[in-house]
């Protein structure tokens, strides 16, 4: 539970995607999300699918991981597919069984839209499967750096994110501890009427908030004692390195985009 939480669904590895700079991965995913909406016919969707599966391959993430983690989302894809098939009543009937009629346009839309949804899910998941949350934070920080000119506190936001990532496991342990302590005092979290279950949350929440406030207080003092005085004049220890692979991958996606425009119907 613990480990799962911290990394989210990050799967450690040494694939090309793992080694890429988080900035390039973020740019790629961002572009992809826009590009997906260009597709509108069989060739364009085929290109998109091919591209996505190539990326999945490059990530070397075992397929069962991909499937296991995304099961609930896949159900949504399936549901989307069925819904479009049954709802759209245009074009020829391709299949008929009693009252159930499936139209050509419905099938087409069902496949296209659910495929688009699936590809979106896969590509965004690839990002989080191959990049730790802290790398994503680093990447976003550097990408958003230009906003500093407009007094946007990029640096503070990044530090804030990294502190929150560091405290997630600690707060989880804390939650577990408090739950156990209250259970020992007779609280039952998952039985009894709904009203009781809601009431049982209070003895968990109050101590959790109190200890968090105390932590915040002590942590702030510790940070200042170590010389923290806001973002100005700070140097950075964590470093990102943009390599050949990053440039190539982005150029590749750009090429795919051009191809999509060409093939678009």
């Amino acid at each position: 539970m613990m480990e799962k939480m911290i990394f989210g669904r990050y799967v450690p590895g040494d694939s090309l995607l793992h080694r890429m700079d988080p900035r390039s991965k973020l740019i790629m995913v961002f572009l992809f999300v826009i590009v997906v909406f260009i597709a509108n016919n069989v060739p364009t969707y085929a290109v998109l699918a091919a591209y996505t599966f190539l990326m999945v391959g490059l990530s070397r993430i075992p397929l069962r991981f991909l499937y296991g983690g995304l099961k609930p989302v896949f159900l949504l894809v399936l549901f989307t597919f069925l819904l479009h098939i049954f709802m759209t009543k245009e074009g020829d009937i391709v299949f008929e069984l009693g009252w159930l009629k499936i139209y050509e346009e419905g099938l087409r839309q069902g496949i296209f839209i659910s495929l688009r949804f699936l590809l979106l899910i896969l590509m965004t998941s690839l990002l989080t499967l191959t990049t730790t949350p802290i790398e994503i934070t680093d990447g976003l920080e550097t990408l958003l750096n230009p906003l500093k000119k407009f007094k946007f506190p990029v640096h503070e936001l990044a530090l804030m994110m990294s502190i929150s990532l560091r405290f997630i496991p600690t707060l989880m342990q804390e939650t577990d501890k408090i739950m156990k302590a209250q259970t020992a005092r007779g609280v039952e979290y998952n039985s009894g009427p709904v009203k009781e279950r809601i009431k049982a949350i209070v003895p968990l929440l109050i101590p959790l908030f109190i200890s968090s406030f105390k932590r915040a207080e002590e942590l702030a003092v510790a940070m200042e004692a170590r010389g923290y005085k806001g973002g100005e004049g700070r140097t950075k220890y964590r470093q990102l390195t943009w390599g050949m692979a990053d440039t190539s991958m982005i150029l590749f996606l750009a090429a795919v985009t051009v191809l999509l425009f060409v093939l678009r119907g």
């Binding site: 560091r166 496991p169 600690t170 003092v221 510790a222 940070m223 004049g233 700070r234 220890y237 964590r238």
Partner: protein, 279 residues
């Protein structure tokens, strides 16, 4: 002891909305290279004193001089570089997501260039024997290990003084010993001045000098020998008597010829041996 590194003169301090002052007219010096222990009951003002030394609070009366600089709003960042602090709760001072990031935090704050940072992170972690834990995350470390990382974070800034505010009180005996041992080695090797606030009198007994705080006042100041002569008076102040001291007393009562009170078991045993092995 050599020249005074820290000079505290007539310092008083009250928290807002608090009737009784937390510190009343405190005056003392700290010499370069000494190990000073500060003891006292809960709420006696020890942590407040530590916060003043680091400029986390400013006294309403009196002045504090650290390494020749008078502490004020303007000099506080300079002084903080010279005075490192390690706090009680290992979890609530770990800022980074990994060990190396945490050590780097202070360096980043002071604008140290990256190349220097990389080098200092490694050497400071080596000094506290955590050099192989670079990429560990805090929740995988024991309390003692987290405290040693905190120490590494402090010494990376190459301070002249380290203040430990009950830095070992949440640790198990093993962790406690590790941390104290680490600080002791650092002090010997780098001539760092150590101010240790502690309830652990065995630890205080090994200091060069002890200051006893009571209700915001400096109650007594002296060498461990002088302080532990206070005996029952210490218990009245909410403190304890270290085991070797207690033991020396009991042995004397049982008629064993001991010339004085011993502060460590080693001293006690050596004395027993030298005074009784003549035959």
């Amino acid at each position: 002891m050599s020249k005074p590194l820290v000079r505290i003169e007539g310092v008083s301090f009250s928290y807002e909305e608090q009737q009784t002052p937390a510190l009343k007219n405190i005056t003392f010096d700290i010499s370069e290279g000494e190990w000073l222990a500060i003891v006292g009951h809960n709420g006696s003002g020890k942590s407040t004193l530590a916060k003043l030394l680091n400029g986390l609070q400013f006294p309403q009366e009196g002045t504090i001089t650290v390494c020749g600089t008078v502490l004020s709003e303007d000099t506080v960042w300079e002084v903080r570089k010279n005075v490192g602090m390690v706090f009680q709760n290992p979890d609530n001072q770990f800022v980074g997501t990994t060990v190396r990031d945490d050590v780097a935090f202070g360096l980043e704050n002071h604008g140290v260039p990256r190349e220097t940072m990389v080098e200092r992170v490694q050497t400071s972690l080596d000094k506290v024997k955590m050099g192989t834990f670079l990429n560990q995350e805090p929740h995988h470390l024991s309390g003692g290990q987290k405290q040693r990382v905190a120490i590494a974070g402090v010494i990376a800034l190459q301070p002249a003084i380290i203040i430990l505010d009950e830095a070992t009180s949440m640790l198990d005996p093993r962790g406690r010993a590790e941390v104290i041992e680490t600080v002791r080695e650092l002090k010997d090797r780098e001539n760092i001045t150590v101010i240790s606030i502690t309830h652990d009198l065995e630890e205080a007994a090994k200091a060069d000098r002890i200051i006893v705080m009571n209700k915001g006042e400096l109650y007594r100041e002296g060498t461990p020998e002088q302080i532990f002569e206070m005996d029952e008076e210490l218990v009245k102040l909410g403190l304890d008597i270290p085991f070797p001291v207690k033991m020396s007393k009991i042995m004397r009562q049982k008629g064993i010829g001991l010339t004085k009170t011993y502060l460590t078991e080693e001293e006690l045993v050596t004395e027993l041996w030298t005074s009784h092995s003549k035959m």
